[in-house]
Symmetry: D2
Subunit: 365 residues, 4 copies
Amino acid sequence: MAGSTYGNIFKITTWGESHGKAVGVVVDGCPAGVPLCEEDIQFFLDRRKPGQSAYTTQRNEDDKVEILSGIFEGKTTGTPISLVVHNKDHHSADYSQIAECYRPGHADYTFDEKYGFRDYRGGGRSSGRETIGRVAAGAIASKILESLNISIMTYSKSIGNVSINYNNFNKDEIQKNPMYMPDSNAAKLAGDMLKEKMAEMDSVGGIIECVVAGMPTGVGEPVFDKLDANLAKAIMSIGAVKGIEIGDGFAVATSTGSKDNDGFKVENGHISKTSNHAGGVLGGISDGSPIVLRAAIKPTPSIAMTQQTVNKSMENIDINIKGRHDPIIVPRAVVVVESMVAVTIVDLLFQSMTSRMDNIIKFFK
Amino acid sequence: MAGSTYGNIFKITTWGESHGKAVGVVVDGCPAGVPLCEEDIQFFLDRRKPGQSAYTTQRNEDDKVEILSGIFEGKTTGTPISLVVHNKDHHSADYSQIAECYRPGHADYTFDEKYGFRDYRGGGRSSGRETIGRVAAGAIASKILESLNISIMTYSKSIGNVSINYNNFNKDEIQKNPMYMPDSNAAKLAGDMLKEKMAEMDSVGGIIECVVAGMPTGVGEPVFDKLDANLAKAIMSIGAVKGIEIGDGFAVATSTGSKDNDGFKVENGHISKTSNHAGGVLGGISDGSPIVLRAAIKPTPSIAMTQQTVNKSMENIDINIKGRHDPIIVPRAVVVVESMVAVTIVDLLFQSMTSRMDNIIKFFK
Amino acid sequence: MAGSTYGNIFKITTWGESHGKAVGVVVDGCPAGVPLCEEDIQFFLDRRKPGQSAYTTQRNEDDKVEILSGIFEGKTTGTPISLVVHNKDHHSADYSQIAECYRPGHADYTFDEKYGFRDYRGGGRSSGRETIGRVAAGAIASKILESLNISIMTYSKSIGNVSINYNNFNKDEIQKNPMYMPDSNAAKLAGDMLKEKMAEMDSVGGIIECVVAGMPTGVGEPVFDKLDANLAKAIMSIGAVKGIEIGDGFAVATSTGSKDNDGFKVENGHISKTSNHAGGVLGGISDGSPIVLRAAIKPTPSIAMTQQTVNKSMENIDINIKGRHDPIIVPRAVVVVESMVAVTIVDLLFQSMTSRMDNIIKFFK
Amino acid sequence: MAGSTYGNIFKITTWGESHGKAVGVVVDGCPAGVPLCEEDIQFFLDRRKPGQSAYTTQRNEDDKVEILSGIFEGKTTGTPISLVVHNKDHHSADYSQIAECYRPGHADYTFDEKYGFRDYRGGGRSSGRETIGRVAAGAIASKILESLNISIMTYSKSIGNVSINYNNFNKDEIQKNPMYMPDSNAAKLAGDMLKEKMAEMDSVGGIIECVVAGMPTGVGEPVFDKLDANLAKAIMSIGAVKGIEIGDGFAVATSTGSKDNDGFKVENGHISKTSNHAGGVLGGISDGSPIVLRAAIKPTPSIAMTQQTVNKSMENIDINIKGRHDPIIVPRAVVVVESMVAVTIVDLLFQSMTSRMDNIIKFFK
């Protein structure tokens, strides 16, 4: 594929540059009859909206989504849903600086190498605004999952060296602090730490954790389209992600079989596991336990501190990136991770409907 | 997809159960004119062969590959290459034990839930033997990369709590010890530790590291088919992998922008980076530095120690898995990781040929 | 796939309903550096525009295309090109009649059966306006083909019982008459015939012919992605097409091998064929001769004449379709056929770049 | 795709050259629990077997299929089904003649142009033997359709200038004559005509017709994956097919809307059509009437008559193709067309399961 389409049955195609006319997504393969309105999507988009706190950019975006197709009388029709968000905030001038050089940690250099030139305005296609299409699609996928009683909870597990304390875990807290942390105390500490980093003209990374509850068993295809494999691709495809793990993840490297294996037990005629080190996936197929995964998010590459780079005249130069930039990507990326998880699960959930002939015969009766 | 096909232009389709008649792969989209013989593939398969050491199973497999199509007069023809390895070692009787219950850490339960029943002989499709097709395809992809001067080095970075010491790093050592470690001392320590684990009827995990040298810039598609995203899927699709990271990976979570960003420099008219925290990928596109990635491998789930599980009569039972099993998966998985990396890079390398119109015009002139 | 995406490397995704807010297409996989502006696309769209003659609807559409992404400083950037055409002409009221019943020859019934309900305004997704996205994408594909000196000529071969006379064939005439016929005399006769059909409140079908010149040899993949197979899908996917043939097409059924085989000859060191019964394709691969294909287009299903149908209350009723409708689809479909041919050829042309290892090595040198 | 894989959910991958070691197919996405044995597949393969009559080659093939994976205790397991047929009849010597020149009507020239060289033995990948994999997959698809009460009838409609008379139509006759015609009288006339053609060292073409009964409504995706579009690709991808039509096909070109439109009627509370000019497809979606399609098959390109061609030394030469060849392809292609239709319908039938949210909710309850 050319790279902007994801999914096999529930298929999303995103488009748009940071400072072009608009960004958007086409969602194809959404079943007919899903109640959907612009507010449902706007609710998700607002979760990635900047300017909500002292720690995220004040750039004045309102990112209002418009539905152009696929909805009739308040329900999806089964045809492609085209969503567009117009780019309001054009200060191309602000970006004249980066037109001539390569920002460290950004894709400026690789885009020039791949395509011969690039839309240098604000990162173009590799800007964070590319995720607007993902989140809009994620809102639709989440509506589908809701109607199947599958729910996703996503939050910041750590920001820089500040991690949440699971003893203080409070789901309701997540939406209440600008860190999207389920631990108000950790959120406060993270906020203080970020202030320092901003003063140092630096930025930090962090870890996002996602838990999917209510998963039916049997979702995920053996071998290449394993549930965890597709989740890994979906999440690693988000710009700032440098690592992804499922269940105990990298900790399994120093664990033992006796600790890592989850036993099975029967309770009131129902099979479950005695633990969930596997993160809800066995052999790439959902086992009925919650899906648990984590993504490592790199620090914001745009920092005010002087950095070494080169310009198009092939000269070694110093660069000080102008303009105000978030010292942290994590909080705004929480809803992006959740969206990619939702899209991936819907796609494999639909695929799993054809795994048994007896169910297919029942379906067509 | 139904899950057994991977790749868009260079496409592989694996098939086969552990104790069926055979396992194999069809490689479609291999260019014509690649010199290829069975020995090229056998060399790769032998790297995943068991029975090479005290730490891997003595099960007598010889896994001889046979080429059934796609080769003529010693070269690929451009048509599908069908490779088959016949299963020699059928002791279905050995597996009668697991027919009736679910082994912890295995996919027995999820296969039954997804398909209604399963081929319980030795794990069927979710057995480690499924990787034979991947490795055979990887051998072909590696021949293609070789001819483009792209080379892949893969090794065990850690086994249980024993990690390599990069000061002792010796590439030539990798193939010389049963741990596939580039550090003979670490390999010896790991061997001793494994003996203990076997005595304890337990198993351990570890980490595999892979470095790709000679990558051209511009490989990888923005957004969903990023080089790192596709690598993440390819590697997470390997049975025992629970985590995947690129470059500094999870370490970025506690790093800062000033440390994590790689500067650019010009030397003799050629642009390179001052460091490689990114692992050779910027915005999902290769930047000319080596691709560096790591995979977390879980401990062998089959252990002799008593474990809690359930049987098909829905009774809680204890299970002691019979037969001799490796206490470690890592060494045999090294070539599997390398194979999936090779296949993924070839596929995206081919895709990248159409990124610039000027190059396309030149090609057809 | 969910049905609105076509192509593997050069990939188009169309969206939009006849009377929704807009229709459009996302073109992904277009190489960077193709000069492109809205006029290039508008030129193609205007070829399918109604209201150009006495024989096509006077409905006032102007169908102005807007480029939302993928272009920078007059050239494609290699990222998705999003094109939108806003629907100007909303008379939903006009369509109240068809909301409650199934129009013969239309997809009203099958959409209700598949999706449970439908956007009944003007045919929704199954309206002829769906082809706007195809044509916009075709304009881009044609720009690519142009730069490779591949040209496509498409015209009406017959309208009802009026066929062109190849002795009068004049390429320049095609764009000069409302029938898009390369024979002015046939065009005039067809016009007179259509006037009669309109008086009879009836409609007619016809045949579109397409000739692709300048094709390189070697385009098309053996077996399932043959050049002719993909062209067949592309063209049969156009609403009103009921048949597709290549070269001599259905005439081969009564031909003989000695007549149907094209001989080969050498002239000035260059191999060509002595005839082109095959239509430029041998074994699914282009042979260097012109690609020749024909599509059978059904009569406009919307006719004023009374027809038998049923309503949603499951009553047998008579229907007289109101509003003015073209008595012929063929002329407006000419550019749609040409567009689908262009998109298909570009996609397979790109695919063919990886068929030989020696060319790949040269490319990356 | 690289061309040897077809289908999205029910996915088949064929491989193998005419005179390589074997030919085969991997069928992925087949649901678990379909009763399947080698006899089921052999029954289909025997329908394409040569040497059954005076009019087909006496070449001694037995084409015994072997199942290598995907079946356990007589039922499909949901994992890939690998089928292989070993090539028994190697007389490469017979083909030395064609190694050095290009046979008219064959793909020798285009394969050389595309790949730089070719496996010249018996046509290699472009041989009729490539269809063995298709037919084996078709046998599996047909088992699935059977269990859903969907049945396919395929037969020779015409051979050369001899067409069946629908007044003599007798379904049971199809398997009884070497022409696979449902009209014994036409079959006899066709046989006599073929004897003449053989005497003239020539060959003829014909038309295959296929009727699918018991189709549920709602199968087929709007726009690009229309049921008729995918059928067109599937059938045009068969080597000798030069045209494909649905319902009235090319006859619609001279028909009128009033004749071509199928009315709707209600009978005992059930909606049906008053005719079936559309061939069971409206807007690309099955309408509940039988699917009716026809394929035009070209004359056997290998004829004994002297033909003009060129050799690899770029000389104009005459060729007389040695060895005995069928004067007609049609009868052996009947089961190939049926197989491609079966595979296509299964794939779209599965896709259609996700078109309505209410059905999906029911499915997962």
